[in-house]
Symmetry: C2
Subunit: 216 residues, 2 copies
DNA sequence: CCTACCGATCGGTAGG
DNA sequence: CCTACCGATCGGTAGG
């Protein structure tokens, strides 16, 4: 087993350590892969130490690069944070797509949130829900808030849909969404991949609590 | 009415604006009142702009003071943050005291959380639940985490008590506490005293959602 | 409680 | 993609 793997993966000799954390796979998508690797590294570092306690020199060092190189992929440190947020919101969007396959309002809600929790417990993007929006420029902050409000509206619509089709009891959609999104967005504050529970278990338990609170 | 009040409150002429936001009332407790006024002003500013985006010059200016003066009441900026956290945890402690008057586990939990939400929606202390603990020294961070863990343990005990006395259905105390504390601690992220709902309304709605999820 | 002032950090750029 | 470097901010202190 070890002999085989030694033969099979002929990793090239590295004199200065892996750069870009091996995120570069093909040839044409190099830049995009690098950009994403940068956002991921930054997101993790920001989450671990805080935005202001993480210097761009440190982020660059995580990728075996120097700071000026980062400026080819982002225009400023705030832009780097903005891209973290944008990426996280893309994951939320994907969760909504996934949820559309549900039948009732409650079912769609469950599917959406399960997918969302899965992303949040696996990906670095979890940082964005902890971040201070004031660390971005006013325009960036507005853009993120706008996307967030859109998500909020869609969640409330799902709750209303569930009330209409009889799968969800009569509740205040605004407060209900605030309630469960608060609970869910707090997961990254305490969840660890090395902990006793994996992401799927947490997602199951939370989905159950949600369902018990909302069903008729 | 205006004529009366003009006569009654003979506010002294002020040449340089109110200092310490008029928090100084008696004579002997001056220092403590000033210290609390400082923590309050700092907590509000940190919440509004973020810890690192708020300079001590700005905090001092909020109290019509200069920065060096603050160092009579706190030993560093991190210490100021620490005291914000400590104050917030004192409010949590008070909430637990209040909750002890309940009969069943569920009742105690409801009373505790209602009181806690009332504090969080009224007082500046809400900032601490949003703050990045890494902005304190390692020792300070540990101290706050320790107190927080103690609260967590007590909350889980209340849930267990409720399960034992039959007021709460069978749940996982750890995940259940994480769930509702996540929801509750997120309130300061969206709540505004000028919004359509006051703190008591939010507390009622959340207590209701909690109860529906936990009762047998 | 204030007037200066220092020193370190760090985001960002020049220029190649 | 790197070496060097600038400039501003800001926590903290001296000294009164």
């Amino acid at each position: 087993m070890s002999a085989v793997s030694k033969t099979v993966r002929k990793s090239p000799p590295r004199t200065r350590g892996v750069r870009w954390n091996d995120a570069v796979q093909s040839r044409e998508e190099r830049n995009e892969a690098k950009r994403v690797a940068l956002i991921r590294a930054a997101g993790r570092a920001f989450k671990a130490k805080g935005f202001h306690n993480t210097s761009l020199d440190e982020v660059a060092a995580l990728l075996n690069l120097t700071k000026p190189t980062l400026y080819y992929y982002v225009s400023s440190k705030a832009d780097l944070l903005y891209q973290c947020h944008d990426y996280a919101l893309d994951l939320g969007e994907a969760a909504f797509q996934h949820g559309q396959e549900g039948r009732t309002g409650l079912d769609k809600l469950r599917r959406t949130l399960a997918k969302y929790m899965e992303s949040m417990t696996h990906d670095f993007a979890a940082y964005s829900v902890l971040s201070d929006l004031n660390d971005m420029t006013p325009a960036q902050k507005r853009a993120i808030q706008k996307r967030r409000r859109e998500f909020d509206t869609r969640f409330r619509a799902l709750v209303s849909e569930g009330m209409a089709d009889g799968s969800i009891r009569e509740v205040d959609p605004m407060l209900t969404v605030a309630w469960f999104m608060g609970a869910i967005n707090a997961i990254p504050r305490w969840f660890s991949e090395d902990g006793p529970l994996n992401g799927a278990q947490v997602a199951d338990a939370y989905t159950d609590l949600l369902t018990r609170g909302l069903r008729v």
